[in-house]
């Protein structure tokens, strides 16, 4: 279960960013995951729940946005979305292409934080 390592890193990054803004609490986190990052969503949600205990993220909602796998097809000269993440061929013309454009993301996009209005000024 590498999701526990990932949840711990996520909480570190979130607490740092929220702390810099003088936040008291993180209410929700929005993360972007590509299917090729190898992160199981259920496992991450589960790991996040207990890794967050005792941190600013305790009780926060974790919102996962799935990023599609897209590739550049040289024949079509266009970016295409792959229907199957194990088949790197253009869905329209069948040309194999290793040129991935998105799909491996694992990032914290944004946070919803609670803070005193004065804290930032």
């Amino acid at each position: 279960m590498h999701e526990l390592s990932i949840a711990t890193s996520l909480i570190d990054v979130a607490c740092d960013a929220a702390g810099d803004e003088g936040a008291e609490r993180v209410l929700s986190l929005r993360v972007r995951l590509g299917p090729l990052a190898g992160v199981d969503h259920e496992a991450l949600l589960f790991a996040f729940g207990f890794a967050a205990e005792g941190t600013m993220c305790e009780g926060a909602r974790l919102l996962i946005e799935e990023v599609p796998v897209t590739v550049y097809c040289p024949d079509c000269d266009a970016v295409k979305r792959l229907p199957e993440i194990y088949q790197f061929t253009c869905p329209d013309c069948g040309t194999p292409t290793p040129e991935m454009r998105t799909g491996r993301e694992m990032e914290l996009a944004s946070l919803e934080i609670d803070s005193h209005e004065a804290a930032h000024s």
Partner: protein, 231 residues
């Protein structure tokens, strides 16, 4: 109190990535070529490593780091090749992380080595996103684990630079379909280099060693010859 949205846009594994990036440039400055071996449990990483070290060790200075959940067996097997070997006991963690590697090699003088091999924990998913500062990520797929593995587990192969089909000495006995396996590998990662080996018997070992030597030579002459999966 007033809730508000804070845009962050930061990689979750930022900390691991930073350590890995620093290690990679340190390795490059020293001319040390670093190889990360990944596979499902039992695909033959330790066996391959042991034979690789004794062959490559005739002409190059080599060290190895091996990650293992609980035992020191692999480190002991690898050490029989004579190469300096460090063991990382990962406990219940199913993959290596950059800081574990940096801790394990901290008291070595890296200038003394030409190649460093890292045997990752046997797992076909978890090591995917953890950059270890390597220059080459090698995925081993054994003939016994089924031709469909590249399709069922496409994440790790997506970050690999080369695949080795291992244990080809028993391919026939297990009814291994080499064409199907290769088609599946190419489906998940078009264009990836594929090599066949039987570490114990020696089949394909010369080609594998030549491949390593060539890749290191390219790495020494070109700072940008770093694996496609990482930056």
């Amino acid at each position: 109190m007033k809730p508000r949205i804070l845009e962050v846009r930061t990689k979750i594994l930022k900390h691991n990535d930073e350590i890995a990036r620093e290690m990679r440039s340190d390795f490059a400055r020293r001319g040390l070529f670093v190889v990360n071996l990944v596979s499902s449990p039992g695909a033959g990483k330790t066996e391959l490593l042991t034979h690789t070290l004794s062959r490559l060790g005739r002409d190059y200075r080599i060290a190895a780091v091996v990650g293992d959940l609980a035992t020191e067996n692999d480190a002991r097997r690898i050490a029989t090749s004579g190469a300096p070997t460090k063991q990382i006991e990962t406990g219940n963690i199913c993959h290596l992380e950059a800081d574990m590697v940096s801790g394990a090699i901290a008291d070595w003088n890296l200038d003394e080595f030409d190649f460093l091999f890292i045997e990752n924990v046997g797992n076909l998913v978890c090591p995917t996103s953890f950059d270890l500062g390597e220059h080459l990520r090698v995925l081993l797929l054994s003939v016994t684990e089924g031709e469909d593995k590249p399709l069922k587990y496409p994440t790790l192969i997506n970050t690999a630079d080369v695949t080795l089909i291992t244990k080809i000495d028993i391919a026939e006995a297990v009814g291994f379909d080499a064409d199907q396996m290769k088609a599946n590998i190419q489906s998940a990662r078009p264009g990836i280099t594929m090599l066949d080996v039987a570490s114990k018997r020696g089949d394909g070992m010369e080609a594998w060693i030549d491949f390593l030597v060539e890749r290191r030579a390219a790495f020494l002459t070109d700072d940008n010859a770093v694996s496609s999966a990482r930056s």
